[in-house]
Assembly symmetry: C2
Homo-oligomer: 287 residues x 2
Amino acid sequence: MIGGAEDKGLNPERGEFQQQNLNYVELGILRRIVEETGGIDARIEVITTASTIPFEVGNNYLNAFGKIGCTNIDVMHIQKHEQALDEDCIKRIRACDGVMFSGGNQKRLTSIFNGTEFLETIIHRYQKEKFVIAGTSAGAMAMSETMIYEGNASRAHLKGEVKTTRGLGFMSNVIFDSHFEKRGRFGRLAQVVATNPKCIGVGLGEDTGMIITHGDRMEAIGSGLVMILDGHEINHTNIANIPTGNPLSVENLKVHFCARGNGYLIKERKFVEQITKSSEAVASDMF
Amino acid sequence: MIGGAEDKGLNPERGEFQQQNLNYVELGILRRIVEETGGIDARIEVITTASTIPFEVGNNYLNAFGKIGCTNIDVMHIQKHEQALDEDCIKRIRACDGVMFSGGNQKRLTSIFNGTEFLETIIHRYQKEKFVIAGTSAGAMAMSETMIYEGNASRAHLKGEVKTTRGLGFMSNVIFDSHFEKRGRFGRLAQVVATNPKCIGVGLGEDTGMIITHGDRMEAIGSGLVMILDGHEINHTNIANIPTGNPLSVENLKVHFCARGNGYLIKERKFVEQITKSSEAVASDMF
């Protein structure tokens, strides 16, 4: 899951700017996705459904993966529910090693994919096989069962301001938010966690991501920060008792800041100072 | 301490708008300040030093306190260090029941007042007598020993991005930030708390404040939220070891959201679900 605006190897000399000018080869999140998926020959389908400018977005990713040396990337421009029912699309999902959901609007993802065999196939492969699901911005936010789709950051401390609905449902024990520091979204994720303390809140900064393996083990990657919000020890909250529009009261929300190399174990709810790469990534040993 | 933009009883029909349109008489923070200071006959000096438009700011406060029914409010337009040395100003501080620092730039407050008898007199009266110090925005941020004066919210997760200096020094065990949700300042206060875990971070929302009595007992007032950041149980942070500009790693920051009526005890580091008014406010019984 990536917080948006991941480094796509843009070329500043040609007027292509990125907020963080990190060494693409050393730190690129996309490079790590390729590594997790099995290396530069892995087949990755880029799904541009969240975006209303799918061709531009798709070409950006083809270009970025191309710079890494990938030889087997393709783009799926599914823009309507009926296209998701197409047997060829499902076949492509059965044949690839991983998918990458682009950014855009997360409600486009859920309204087009929820209830389809296309989505069931992704979920089945994710649960039963070695299969990578990547997503950025809206593509990350849609991954959990509970998905935030609206909420003004400066009013997010008021009950009812943050709206959630059912996401794509790859995971049930986490809730994602993206562009986290840039858009000041701490309050909005905190409200959702206070309402669903079963779930760990994962606030993804830009050009920053979390690799989750076996639905449990998280490793922070990229140039920024992932904030973990743990509501399991909340002693008091007024959220059930106050009228909509009133400010929240919350006692004892636990927060961790994960920079690159830090990890978190969801089931144990444990911050890990230095987490090793997942065995899959080590095994692929692509570079 | 008020997070800025407190309700000043503006009149929308005359084109005077406030973000929160709450009932001024019931919820006004200024009314509570008057109550704490001793009632509508209490003498309060409004200190406009932080502002570069002191006369406009001063008149706003005279007008707002006037609407409450106050009869004994005055304004001190100290704009230079040498004016702070004036014996008449010091006499006025000796004679009043409380002071109110306006918003503006907190570095103007420290550069003009630090090291003066004017400030020493305020501190002495605060420590030894029944004396109220109020402040909004910059006027709140300057109150602690450690004062934040700069830090871009969207880059506040990077080491060195948040700048602090010595404030007016009324309290040593807290650090204030203002306009907290509106400007997405969680990361910036968290960075300062991670560096100074001795101090409790107090993030003040707009039209929201904390009443602190006996340097320990906090009561949230106003229409929004005060976030408390407690760094005493931080297990791991990389802040001492990473180069400037790198993202922070922090394990186990404790956060509380205080809405109106919630409290916090600084020494015990304890959230209080329902805190009663301070005995001073009850005793004044102005209304």
